[in-house]
Symmetry: D2
Subunit: 136 residues, 4 copies
């Protein structure tokens, strides 16, 4: 079983759309912001360190289920993520976006990431030391 | 069988991210831009007309599969959409994002939309005249 | 002399552009986010309360001077704002965007806001009770 | 006297903000999109070619005057730009954002650009061949 980590993201005025709600694509940005934060602070290997090893995580698939609208007044969302599965070159990460104030779910879903060599541009097997870092 | 419609979207410098590619969440924005365009020009009922009837389409689910990176040099994407299924209050729309220059797929996926009353905030049965407009 | 207030804004991955820096237009978004925050928490009259009185602040002029690039690694910016001048229907607000870690200036400038009636769409004289709230 | 060039930019749903208008910072993005387009098509030296010579244009100052709100229904804006002045390491570019449909001004202003070496990170004198390209 993998750990669940969480980050807070503050809703910005420029995230709000024509319907007075957080624009749907910004939910993805909130998860990506949380992932950057958690890579560095929880998994102890920041995106920068991956790039220094000529590796990068590329998004292959995204699934988002929207549960509740977010407004500017909701102010802060809590983004929880948990690794669901680590394969040869891919890792699936589940996420939950909650309103911080009351813990209600705004969206859930997953991201399927593929580890890619920045040199060849091709998927690479996740090295054992990274599998280990991600096994917490 | 439902018709396939297509719209062109020009890639903007502010869509490009830290990896020199179109940021993943912008793919959603491209599909949404194409939908607005096609609602008005192909289905002959713009989002504005829905709002005037106290109705709006809310996104319930999104699935995106990324196939190829997009760069600023790709300039223009062609976004094709096709209704896959119309239910009581929901419509599923498949999409394909292609590089205009060579027709290569950059991403595919679907949006599940729910018709919602802007008065009650609750899902409503899709009226027959809208089902008909969407049956082309 | 008007008070200087400050807010923190976290840099998000989707703010980063093709040059690996915060995209220039995001600096405006950071100031706008800080203003919303300070209207509510420092001036004790949120944008929502203005709208409830059929008033809104519209941006008439913006000036931005860029001093230093911001990167994702800078993580958090401090946005300071200070009212410079309150006229009949307009208020000029100076701002400073600083890197939180070392206090170095990333940008400075001002926003000229006009108070507008949401009913008539026209500028209105700033009511005395608002002038007072802004005189701290 | 320098030439005026123009580009069209389509307003996207994700550009619209909480007030149902194009968000103020997006005006900057529209000008930047027009500049990329005009560098390539009018000045015949794309940003990519600058980067290949280890040069880049950095924005030093921006001034925006907002004249009229833009809505999604305005669909397309025309962005005109004209070089106002070319100095040792800097170029000032005036811009006008117009509603395509009726030619009415939505915003005007200028960008002050500085030519910077991507190797040293410092301003460099604009080479004569670039001054010439920009003298049309």
């Amino acid at each position: 079983m993998y750990s669940i980590f969480e980050s807070e993201v503050r809703i910005r005025p420029d995230d709000i759309d024509v319907n007075n709600h957080v624009h749907s694509s910004r939910y993805m940005d909130y998860v990506l912001a949380a992932r950057y934060d958690q890579m560095e602070n929880n998994y102890k290997m920041s995106m920068k360190e991956f790039l220094e090893k000529n590796l990068t995580w590329v998004i292959s698939d995204v699934h988002l289920s929207f549960k509740r609208e977010l407004k500017l007044e909701d102010k802060i969302v809590t983004v929880r993520t948990q690794i669901a599965e680590v394969g040869a070159a891919q890792a699936r990460v589940n996420f939950w976006i909650l309103k911080k104030e009351n813990g209600k779910e705004a969206a859930t879903g997953y991201f399927l990431y593929t580890l890619v060599s920045t040199v060849s541009g091709r998927p690479v097997r996740i090295p054992p030391e990274i599998v280990e870092k991600y096994s917490i």
